[in-house]
Amino acid sequence: MSNAIEVQRITKRYGQKVAVDDISFEVRRGEIFSLLGPNGAGKTTTIRMILDIIKPDSGTIHVLGAPFSEETKKRIGYLPEERGLYKNVPLVELLSYIGTLKGMRRREAEQRAAQLLDELDLGAYKKGKVRELSRGMSQKVQFAATIIHRPELLIIDEPFAGLDPVNTEIIKNMIFRLRSEGATIVMSIHEMHQVEEMADRLLMIHQGRRVLYGEVDEVRQRYAENAVIVSGQGNWAALRGVMRVQPDETGRNVTLYLDNQTTPDQVMAELANSPNYSVRSFAIAVPRLNDIFIRVAGGEAKIAASVPSMAEVRS
């Protein structure tokens, strides 16, 4: 089976500015794919080209196995970052209108709209209007409008923006359920912990160019430094091979940066054999996506500046 999205060397220029510069990637069927990048990186332009809202200057895009067509639209759900709905239309009527535009029959769309509103804890507002809802509720209605027609491919831009933790969890569970039902999900998102938790693979765009691409775990490993995270008691800086010690915000965990001649196994053996240390947990340090994002988007200098030196830790 072909990939859900295949993008080959697309470029888009606006005058002198290159919004998207020779980007290629693929989104596999059934995966959650995260599209990352700082503001203005070219994510929205890329999404709009995938959705055929604008055309690339060069390159090719295949969506669900073929070049984009009007029929393709009916198989895609899209939640844009700039989003809103008609404010004065009853919710079921509004959602069923979107559903019919996506190819559903009116009766089927109405039933599905009512069902989705129930699932999103909005059952009491079926006859209500968007203008009567809170921002979080409106966001959930937006999400319902995106998935009402059970899309094969879901492209969602900042799906958790404006949602409290409870509603975030509801939407997240619906995304997982859609994936389990076979849908492919492309997520543009800034909450890196959500990417770590949800995404299978990612693409990071910076200044229109592809800077990170691959499995989430593999990318994190790629950026992993030679370090371990431990919690417990002892003089960590005195361990052989430790170059730098960095406690986390809670003070309970400490990251030990090792020199090139020392492996995590050696550190673990020394800790186990030395009576001067009491260890509650030990793990190989893998950088958080947030750090990788800042490092790539903001430059290595910012990362370096944010890390305290060994001397600072020791003092």
Binding site: Y14, G15, R48, L51, I53, I54, K55, E70, K73, K74, I76, Y78, L79, P80, E82, R83, G84, L85, Y86, K87, N88, V89, Y97, I98, T100, L101, K102, Q142, A145, T146
Partner: protein
């Protein structure tokens, strides 16, 4: 096509449920009928009071006093009419006053002794021509029953039943040509034409602007509530544009039809009160041109407003920008006197060819004269091409502005996005 229909259906039903639309559409006719009934009730009361004051005197020439009734009042028609017979056919006519010369009749008319007089031409038997002179031209008051009866009687009395006389008896006993005297009468005739022309012009403008207002509101809505991109992922911009375009036009047409229907009904009920309008008649060619330009004008204004709505971020900006179109479009209206007096001169013809002024210019001209076919075809062709171009541009701009998501478009954005592949 299905998407266009869905948009059309959704927009139509949504607007039909809006209180504002319902109030304007049905409230105006209801208010008009209510006002009419109120005036009628008040009028009846006043008439009853007036009749009581005058007693039971019949409305005749020798009974009604001058000055008791205004010149414009329908009751002024109760004054007698006169006639001058150059043909020698007529004897005394019971309900008409005979004058020996036109000069005497004219003096009587000017003095208010009579409301009108007929002049039977010397060659009446050959031409059937009778002229009617009025102090104030008034189509509704033209009742030629008395003179018609008198002439018919005279012809029958002759009874030689020559073919020409038979024809006159059967079809055209007389062909009355109304002629107004002096400046007052001339002005009255002009006013009638002006009134007719202005009624059509205002009707066109009013309908077009009402529609355009709805359209402007509707087409800026998605950008104001940020629903644009959601909808663009489901349908083509042109389906959204045309669906809304059709829906708003149907709604405006419904509203206009209801209003015009109510107005016509009220006019028919008020025929006795407004006799000036009862005799207005247009030739078929005039009607055709008026209908063509009503439709074209309507589409032109709608398409221009579609462009305006695509160029602006919200309804308020659109309303402000629309002045740029409305002012030049109304130019013929400001020059309507020139259109009435010299409808086929250079200026009216020129303005009939310029698309933005053509709808009103042609409406004004066609109300008062027969516009040459060549000019109609050329003007209509230019206007139609402009409409097509406007709709095309509106669709492109609409797509552009949808992508800008409520941000006011800069000229370079517009040029860039319009020229790029859709």
């Amino acid at each position: 096509m299905r998407a266009l229909w869905l948009v059309f259906h959704f927009e139509t039903m949504r607007q039909l449920k809006r209180l504002g639309y319902l109030l304007v559409t049905f409230g105006v006719p209801i208010a008009a009928v209510a006002l009419f009934l109120l005036f009628r009730v008040l009028g009846s009361s006043a008439a009853e009071a007036g009749t009581g004051g005058r007693g039971d005197s019949p409305l005749g020439a020798n009974v009604l006093g001058e000055g008791a009734i205004s010149e414009d009042s329908p009751l002024a028609q109760a004054r007698p009419m006169g006639f001058v017979d150059h043909s020698g056919l007529l004897g005394n006519v019971p309900t008409l006053i005979r004058f020996s010369s036109e000069e005497a009749a004219l003096n009587a008319l000017k003095n208010g002794e009579i409301s009108a007089y007929y002049v039977i031409a010397a060659d009446y038997l050959q031409t059937g021509k009778v002229e009617a002179y009025f102090q104030r031209f008034n189509l509704g008051s033209l009742s030629d029953v008395a003179i018609r009866q008198a002439l018919l009687s005279a012809l029958i009395r002759q009874a030689d039943l020559a073919p020409q006389k038979l024809a006159l008896l059967q079809a055209r006993t007389l062909d009355v040509t109304p002629i107004a005297i002096g400046e007052v009468a001339s002005q009255a005739t002009e006013n009638t034409n002006l009134l007719l022309a202005n009624v059509f012009a205002i009707l066109l403008l009013f309908t077009a602007l009402t529609t355009s207002g709805y359209l402007l509101q509707s087409l800026t809505e998605e950008r104001e509530n940020r629903a644009a991109e959601v909808l663009l992922s489901a349908l083509r911009p042109r389906d959204l544009l045309f669906g809304k375009f059709l829906a708003m036009n149907v709604l405006a047409l419904l509203q206009t039809t209801l209003w015009i229907g109510t107005a016509l009904f009220l006019l028919s009920q008020a025929a006795g009160i407004l006799p000036d309008l009862s005799g207005i008649a247009l030739r078929a060619d005039q009607v055709i041109v008026l209908v063509i330009y009503f439709v074209l004008g309507y589409l032109f204004f709608s398409s221009v407003y579609a462009i305006i709505s695509a160029l602006t971020a919200n309804f308020r900006e659109g309303t402000q920008l629309s002045v740029v179109v409305i002012l030049p479009a109304m130019l013929p209206f400001y020059l309507s006197v020139a259109f009435i007096n010299t409808p086929n001169e250079a200026l009216p013809v020129l303005l009939s060819m310029i698309p933005i002024t053509a709808p009103l210019a042609m409406t004004l001209r066609a109300s008062v004269t027969s516009v040459p076919l060549g000019e109609v075809l050329l003007s209509a062709a230019l206007l139609s091409l402009t409409i097509v171009a406007c709709v095309w541009l509106a669709a492109r701009l609409f797509r552009v502005n949808m992508l800008l998501s409520g941000r006011p478009p800069k000229l370079r954005d517009v040029l860039r996005l319009v020229s790029e592949r859709a």
